[in-house]
Amino acid sequence: MLTKKNKVMLSVGFYLVIAVILIFTLLPIAWMVITSFKTKADIYSSIPKLFFKPSLKGWEHVLFTMPTVRFILNGLIVAGFNTAICLIVGTLAAFSLSRFKMKGKENIAFFLLTFRMFPPIAAAVPLFVIFKTFKLIDTQLSLIFAYILFNLPFTVWLMREFISSIPVSLEEAAMVDGLTRMQAFRQIELPLLKASLAAVGIFCFIFAWNEFIFALLFTQSMAKTMPVQISQFITWKEVTWENASAAGTIFVLPVLVLVFFIQKYLVIGLSLGTVKG
């Protein structure tokens, strides 16, 4: 039995650990936001300044002299399509791998997972050649394809686990009650998979949103995304930290908003096995 004193100690320790983790993860973001309001002189001062006269120079540059909206839009389109396609195709594939009796289905599932294991850079060169042949360089389509290559196996693998955690008898009951197998999937299993879909979806989205190497290789200007743009604030002459920070702040916002709205599902989805057997 824990005494009252011990309980207090325990919760103090608990919050202390959480505080340390939060500082560790949030400090760089906070520093980025602060930096975005600094002038060059303040940024390069030898002692980091917490109090300074705010400047909007970085923001002005990012918002008004650069096509930031296009970069953001590119990112949203690429990440959005990638997520949607992965969820639709991946969930259906996962359903068949989970529910249908077929030879070698474990091998198929494992084979899919190995896609995720090989380093993206290994695929970059052949993909570049393919996209060049089909005139897809500097299009959003190239990035959508490339990201699907990595996100789809991951989606299938995760969704298969989630679907397998739903008792198959639910589907059978629905079929006896008068539905076709697909209807049973749509009306019974899909609603139960909402949380899992949200969790997997956000993973896919964040992967595509943050991805840098492919975006750098396959895009030049029209289909460029924010990570590539931000990296280009580092030039041979100087690093424009105020611009990079302002762009970085804008860059994290959409994901933050997205996660905020679906965080309830995210937590449920991540704790596997949402349906009682």
């Binding site: 008792p167 008898s169 639910l170 059978e172 009951a173 629905a174 079929m175 006896v176 009650d177 008068g178 539905l179 076709t180 019974i188 609603p191 139960l192 349906v275 009682k276 057997g277």
Partner: protein, 367 residues
């Protein structure tokens, strides 16, 4: 309302035999139990009626319709599952109404029917609840409700009460039987629990290794087991069985075991001699309930001496383990018969209650 017929039905999972050459007719409005240990093929049989498993070979008819190639939804059957299979995202009302919703039954009829069913099952207070807020017993009722809300040709119940606690199970047995009588729908009930089968069924099919061992009324299954498997599977405590051989001496027949010799009547002896293919390898069986237990000084003929090992008083009756040679014989005696350990007794086996089987094939030898 329909007859279910199996004609030479087999089911294989790859090399594994689940059901082998099944021929069976489940009668109209009958409460029919498929009874057997796990892996005996009873659930596969039920699932083949439902259309949830394909038939490897043979034909299944519901009524006059060959259903082999029909989807589950085309068979007009209702099924209750072992784990209830309630839709967790729907309320009790929506769960029960689900088959009606699929049939696009008008809202008012749907409401009326669900309420009717809920009343029958005594769950009308729960209709607005989510199913994960219900107890096991309540979930079981909802699952039954979903099955009976439309008028199917056949009810299929797959161990529907096996996860309930003992008390509730006792109650549900009676309730399910009453419900079946009231609705008059052909019902197939799968269970591994012989008490459920014996207490509820009009007829029982005992299955083992994918093959039907016997089909009969509970009385027939218990009193005339077709083979040693049925004799051993049904009845608690188990039937006492001994290897024996038929002996004939001066026109008198007896069954000789290692522990005792049982004198047969002339008629029974002759019948066994006539019917048993191998009179030297037989099996003698007697159910604990049919053993006559007598104090040592009682003057009765054809008695076998035994010694009390232990007693298990259960209130309604007492199970007593008797030492008989190298074997233990289980007998059921009235609770007021006070026995002590090591007490010497005699037992009798009334001839009308003994069972004789061929030891090689296990088949019953009718006397």
């Amino acid at each position: 309302m329909a007859i279910v017929r199996f004609i030479n039905v087999s089911k294989y999972y790859g090399e594994v035999v689940a059901v082998e050459n099944l021929n069976l007719e489940i009668r109209d409005k009958e409460f029919f139990c498929l009874l057997g240990p796990s892996g005996c093929g009873k659930s596969s049989t039920l699932r083949m009626i439902a259309g949830l498993e394909t038939v490897t070979s043979g034909e299944i008819y519901i009524g006059d319709t060959l259903v082999n190639d029909l989807e589950p939804r085309e068979r007009n059957i209702a099924m209750a599952f072992e784990n209830y299979a309630l839709y967790p995202h729907l309320t009790v009302f929506e769960n029960i109404a689900f088959p009606l919703r699929v049939q696009k039954v008008p809202e008012e009829t749907k409401k009326r029917k669900v309420e009717e069913v809920a009343k029958i099952l005594d769950i009308n207070e729960l209709l607005d609840r989510r199913v994960d807020q219900l107890s096991g017993g309540q979930q079981q009722r909802v699952s039954t409700g979903r099955a009976i809300v439309r008028n199917p040709q056949v009810f299929l119940l797959d161990e529907p009460i096996s996860h309930l606690d003992a008390k509730l199970r006792d109650r549900m047995r009676g309730e399910l039987k009453r419900l079946q009588r009231k609705l008059q729908v052909t019902t197939t009930y799968v269970t591994h629990d012989q008490i459920e089968a014996m207490s509820m069924a009009d007829r029982i099919a005992v299955m083992d290794l994918g093959v039907i061992q016997q089909v009969g009324t509970p009385w027939e299954i218990f009193n005339k087991p077709a083979n040693t498997f049925v004799a051993n599977f049904v009845g608690s405590p188990r039937i006492n069985s001994f290897d024996c051989s038929l002996k004939e001496e001066k026109g008198r027949y007896s069954l000789a075991t290692n522990s005792f010799e049982y004198n047969l009547s002339l008629k029974a002896g002759k019948l066994i001699a006539e019917k048993a293919p191998f009179p030297d390898t037989l099996q003698f069986g007697i159910r604990p309930r049919n053993i006559g237990v007598h104090l040592e000084d009682e003057k009765i003929e054809n008695v076998i001496p035994v010694e009390v090992s232990i007693t298990e008083p259960l209130g309604d009756y007492t199970i007593v383990d008797l030492i008989l040679g190298d074997d233990i014989l289980k007998a059921i005696v009235p609770p007021d018969l006070k026995l002590e350990e090591n007490q010497r007794l005699t037992v009798t086996f009334p001839e009308q209650h003994i069972h004789v089987f061929d030891a090689k094939t296990g088949v019953r030898i009718e006397m």
